[in-house]
Amino acid sequence: MLRGVSIDAAAGDCVHVAGPNGSGKTTLLRVIAGLLTPEQGSVTWHGRPIAADRDAYSGSFSYLGHSDGLKPEFTAHENLAYEVGLRRKLGASSIDETLARVGLTQSRDQPARSLSAGQRRRLAMARVLLTAAPLWILDEPFTNLDNAGMNFLSEVIAQHLEAGGAAMLATHQPPAIPRHAVCRLDLA
């Protein structure tokens, strides 16, 4: 599916993976995340193939896929405590602060299944924020978000880039990241 694709991202870079449906945007992101093994070619992180130390590599990025990766039975707070807790130790108030940041303070103790699709996307984004990884791999992150949510997410990505992070996004619409140029990779 993917042929002749070469992509390079440094700290502060934002890469927009574009292309029509079925062009391989999700496949590319899954290959970069190490969830799919390419038949040919390689993915390297800091100059080393990711297969050399998969666990160390996985710890250095945050992945938001098509599904939100939330347990419907768990509350918003529990989802973050368990999913992010696997990766890093969390301070007592860090989850509440992040929930406030993504506008979900009211839904803190609500099960994820009772949240709207947009709220679940915000909660999934809260997980990405809390993970505090240098690389963000986001597959259609703006799906189901309202205008305020989209603006908020763009601003959050801009702040992440300013803090020395990098981001890769697969979206249909070109993302408008404030104060940052976006490098476009077209898979068409």
Partner: protein, 227 residues
């Protein structure tokens, strides 16, 4: 960034799965209810004569426990796969084999341990003497542990299939047969008043073997299924 240690991550995964299980009481109760129902059907179908039941008790208890333990296996990774949390688990940067052990341990706590705990009651109803009850519990504790580990491999392998439960049984049951043979034999020996140490030690050796190899197999199978 203060990373979670692998041991702490495994503990968190264990607690998470227990909490999830207790939010689905029906799934927790299902294996025990099945185990109790099957073992109580035997006296009705064969004979209420305790002497006759005693001869079959080891086999009945083990077959019923084996099938009951199979019931919950299909759901071991399925929900995590469906809601995307399995992907996040694979990308957590923690050794997947260790997380698999934690999930298997939680599954055993919820599905295997209750079977072990109710087994003395059911054994008494089948005419097993009080002196053999320890052997019943020990053999089932070892056996359900083996089945949880073997079953987790099968569940991970059949994860991508729409109707994997049939294939799961076909994969797991033949592998569990040695455990069934030695487990039932241990109970028979104990009922007759003989030492059941030999078969129990063999069961323990099997458990150590599957606990050593299964986590690696489960981890690889999960990575393949997530692709």
């Amino acid at each position: 960034m203060d990373r979670t240690s692998p041991a702490a991550a495994a503990m968190l995964m264990y607690r998470r799965d227990l909490l999830l299980a207790f939010r689905h009481w029906d799934q927790v109760a299902q294996p025990v209810v099945f185990f109790a129902m099957v073992t109580t059907l035997f006296p009705l179908a064969i004979s209420p004569e305790l002497g006759e039941l005693r001869q079959l008790a080891g086999g009945v208890l083990w077959v019923a426990a084996l099938l009951a333990a199979l019931l919950g296996l299909e759901f071991l990774f399925r929900a995590d796969h469906a809601d995307g949390t399995l992907e996040q688990m694979l990308l957590s940067g923690q050794p997947i084999a260790l997380l698999a052990i934690a999930k298997g341990a939680a599954h055993w706590t919820v599905c295997g341990l209750p079977l072990v705990l109710v087994s003395p009651l059911l054994a008494i109803s089948l005419g097993v003497p009080a002196a053999a009850l320890c052997t019943v519990m020990l053999s089932l504790a070892l056996g359900t542990g083996i089945l949880s580990a073997l079953g987790a491999i099968g569940a991970a392998l059949t994860l991508g299939l729409r109707r994997g439960s049939m294939l799961l049984s076909l994969l797991v049951l033949p592998l569990a047969m040695p455990a069934l043979i030695f487990g039932a034999r241990a109970i028979d020996l104990a009922i007759q008043g003989d030492a059941a140490r030999g078969p129990l030690l063999l069961l323990a050796a099997m458990l150590v073997l599957v606990l050593t190899l299964a986590p690696l197999a489960i981890g690889s199978a999960l990575r393949i299924s997530a692709e």
